[in-house]
């Protein structure tokens, strides 16, 4: 049977998955193999070396670099307090006395007699690492972190902003094509992962931030709102570090696009349960998509499938068109003609025939569709 390879986002009611949780630099692993962890448990931590502040003693005291050794009150390795005098001259007349105070709390890192500069370093900062998902530690990477294994619902979005967070799922829309309005967000949404339908506007997202909502998951947002929210245009899709007060996950794309019904129903089936979400997106080498993870089986599911992504499409598969002129339209694959076809733009491309809901058949480049789960 004809089939074609195609990328698709994962939307799985239940799957066995692993999450690697590693520190950026070596540190200490706090849990051992086999331990059950909650999403907010610390699994590792490290100390980030403090910031370095250079102080040019020679310039400020108007002496040659090699002369600073006579003026320094501290040597390499000595602790310093903010405001403490670290260098001073000893003139005959007291009025001409000059001194230099430490701009920070920390230690003297180094002294240079070539540049007349000393380096002060702030105390190290503790960097804790949470488990992020509830599960079992199945592997320890010494000095760096752990791998956690868990079973549960796994849903990928197409784009997100903001980092990792946790909270209960709250369905705030009745259907996937309903717009999430500010009024739909009440005190009950505080600390929750709020699920909307086709779109959330700027006023809705701002209201969510005010209320202390942890995350919003919707079908689409407008780029103009995103710009207003961040204060700048996102140029390259590498996100996850934005600090806007919550995490936003878009499941379908930019514009007003109803959330895929399958995704919406799956999220609804986990309403009220605890979830881990991340908006981190990276669309280049090492692709990373935003995700919603709900540990445990959905109510009506008894068997956990490992990974149902087949990686190709066949006639009969439901698909979504992801580019104009039919952006967001859902249909079923009718056929996959093998030969190159001239499309409207006059390019030669591999195409597929799609049957729309009303029975109409259209031709779309294979590059412009995404598989939907059955």
């Amino acid at each position: 049977m004809a089939h074609a390879y195609t990328p698709g986002l994962k939307v799985m009611p239940c799957t066995l998955f692993r999450k690697r949780r590693l520190l950026p630099i070596p540190g200490k692993v706090l849990v051992e193999e086999g331990k059950q962890v909650e999403a907010t448990d610390m699994v590792a931590q490290t100390e980030l070396p403090g910031k370095v502040f250079p102080v040019n003693v020679a310039n400020r005291m108007s002496v040659a670099p090699e002369e600073i050794k006579d003026l320094l009150l501290k040597k390499e390795g000595d602790p310093v307090k903010k405001g403490e005098i670290i260098a001073e001259n000893r003139p005959f007349i007291k009025w001409f006395k000059t001194s230099i105070e430490s701009p920070i709390d920390g230690t003297v890192d180094s002294v240079s007699h070539v540049t007349g500069q000393i380096m002060l370093r702030e105390p190290p900062k503790v960097l804790p690492l949470q488990a992020y998902v509830k599960g079992k530690v199945v592997e320890v990477t010494p000095n760096f972190g752990v791998t956690i294994e868990s079973e549960g619902t796994f849903i990928q979005g197409i784009f997100g902003i903001g980092g990792e967070t946790n909270g209960e799922i709250l369905m705030a829309a009745k259907s996937p094509d309903e717009e999430l309005m500010p009024e739909a967000l009440t005190e009950a949404a505080r600390g929750k992962i709020v699920i909307g339908g086709k779109h959330a506007g700027l006023s809705t997202i701002k209201r969510a931030v005010e209320l202390g909502v942890k995350a919003i998951v919707v079908g689409g947002i407008h780029d103009r709102d995103l710009r207003q929210l961040l204060g700048y245009d996102i140029g390259v899709a590498v996100t996850g570090t934005e600090q806007i007060g919550l995490t936003v996950i878009v499941t379908e794309g930019f514009g007003m696009i109803p959330m895929a019904e399958y995704t919406f129903k799956l999220l609804a089936s986990r309403n009220g349960e605890k979830a881990s979400v991340s908006g981190a997106t990276q669309i280049r080498a090492g692709v990373m998509r935003p995700e919603i993870i709900v540990p445990g089986f959905p109510k009506n599911v008894t068997e956990c499938r490992k990974d149902q992504g087949r990686g190709w499409i066949e006639p009969g598969d439901p698909i979504r068109i992801i580019r104009e002129p039919h952006f967001g339209v859902i249909g079923t694959v009718k056929s996959l003609p093998p030969e190159l076809t001239v499309i409207g733009s006059e390019s030669h491309a591999r195409v597929l025939e799609v049957t729309l809901d009303g029975g109409e058949v259209i031709v779309v480049p294979r590059a412009n569709i995404e598989v939907l789960e059955k």
Binding site: D233, G253, I283, A285, S345
Partner: protein
Amino acid sequence: MSKKDLEVIIATDCGSTTTKAILIEKKGDTYRQTFRGEAPTTVEAPFEDVTKGVLNSITEVEELSGRKLLDGEKIITPNNGNTGADIYVSTSSAGGGLQMMVAGAVKAMTGESAQRCALGAGAIVMDVLASNDGRADHEKIERIRQLRPDMMLLSGGTDGGTVTHVVELAQFLKAADPKPRLGASYKLPVIYAGNNKAHEKITEILGDRTALIITENLRPSLERENLMPARHKIHDIFLEHVMQQAPGYPRLMKMVGAPIMPTPAAVGTMTEKFAKANGFNVLAVDIGGATTDVFSVFSEVFNRTVSANLGMSYSISNVMAEAGLANILRWLPFDIEEQDLRNRLKNKMIRPTTIPQTVEDLQIEHAVSREALRLAFDQHKALAVGLKGVQQERSISDAFDQTASGQSLINVMKLDYVIGSGGILAHSPRRTQSMMMMIDAYQPEGITRMAVDSIFMMPHLGVLAQISEKAALDVFYHDCLVRLGTCLAPKGLAKEGQLIMEWEVTGSDGKKQAGQLRFGDIIHVPFEAPKAKLVARPVKGFDMGAGSGNKVEAEIEGGTVGLVLDGRGRPFTLSKEPAKRRGNLEKWYKAMGMYPV
């Protein structure tokens, strides 16, 4: 094996997503590219071995050519009948290419020289640190800590000059204790190419913490740049350190018959060879999904820049952010809501592999591409400059014509040849679209030949040129370049409809074509002959390269597009009045037969 014996060559380019293999065979006295194959690059999980993709792409060449090239996972050498190849060469930009951070004492002097040095070696320059770069010292240290480059190039000071600044930079580097991007266990390679008087002090400061390599100063005096020794060191370290950390590269390095080159370095080599062989001033551009590389050779000086976030898919949204929506909209002959355009471009960013299905969507991508090409060219012009800080002797005759040092080397009137590559230029449905995108973005003046590298073969040929320049140039002329034709653009401004030039073209077959060009018009003359004679008579106030109103006779090239007589004037600006602008665009697009009606 001597160079004379080369008859069959297999070459690959390992890109971030695709590995492309080409087979080159000697037919009579000429080398020709005969077969090609491609396969997904296998640097990332689950394969994590670049050689898998290489072998797959070569297997495709085997299947198509019927020549047995592989014995298991080994390339059969030398060639014998219908088996094997005489040499295998490869370039690589997989895994993000070569990423560097450079530092110099004064930003506009050693900082800029260090940047040119690293870019010319094929690197992406993540940041340029300098004593006077406007950042507070602790911010510089923080920046070094955040970035994780593959290696660092430290320069500063002229030989025998003051050592303070460069020693200070070394101390910042030591305090930051940067880590290399790949492989947490090895020390960051640092190349020192600064004041030779500071060698001892630099070794004292950085010797323990980093893998320090000391080489000749890249700016021994203000009047002289000496980039090659440091560039060679960059290539050595690229092979010895960076490549060794990348998945499968140690094996790939054993397979090749010549050192692996970073892809942009190979394209640069080929651009230089082509310019030198013809005595041309050349501009070559490779516009990809994420980045745009620009190479130029002007008056035999080679320059390369890479605009890391200007591209047609991953970086499409950044083109919008940098150019501004208005600049993209100005190329469209129809109205579109700002919100709609914004969402469309963002949707392309998050689904980078989709393709335009309608003419309208294609025109939007072409509008973005013009802006990406223009911005990358602006960045190139800013770096491809003469040395700054050079003392100039002036006489009384210079009193009214004083130029500062550091003028751009790029002069579009003197530009002889433009080569475009990358999906949007190489695979546009009509070649006129590619040619017009380059004309609109670069606004060439006078006589400019244009071509595209339709299957991006320049990397393979650049690395091959190290072994056999003849083989590389043969294939470049016959199989790599798709000649588009020549753009004739008189420089000057006039009233719309005014006669600005008379022209006459005689093909090698003696066939003549002639006409008049009026201001505000574009004339398209289909013309395929590889060579023709042009006589152009611009009116007073218009220049075709010989001065205002002076007749020009020149050899030009025809091609798949032919001649484009661009009467829109230089400098060329679009009308601010929307209806007039759209009307003009429609007129020009129609004259060029750019889009289906």
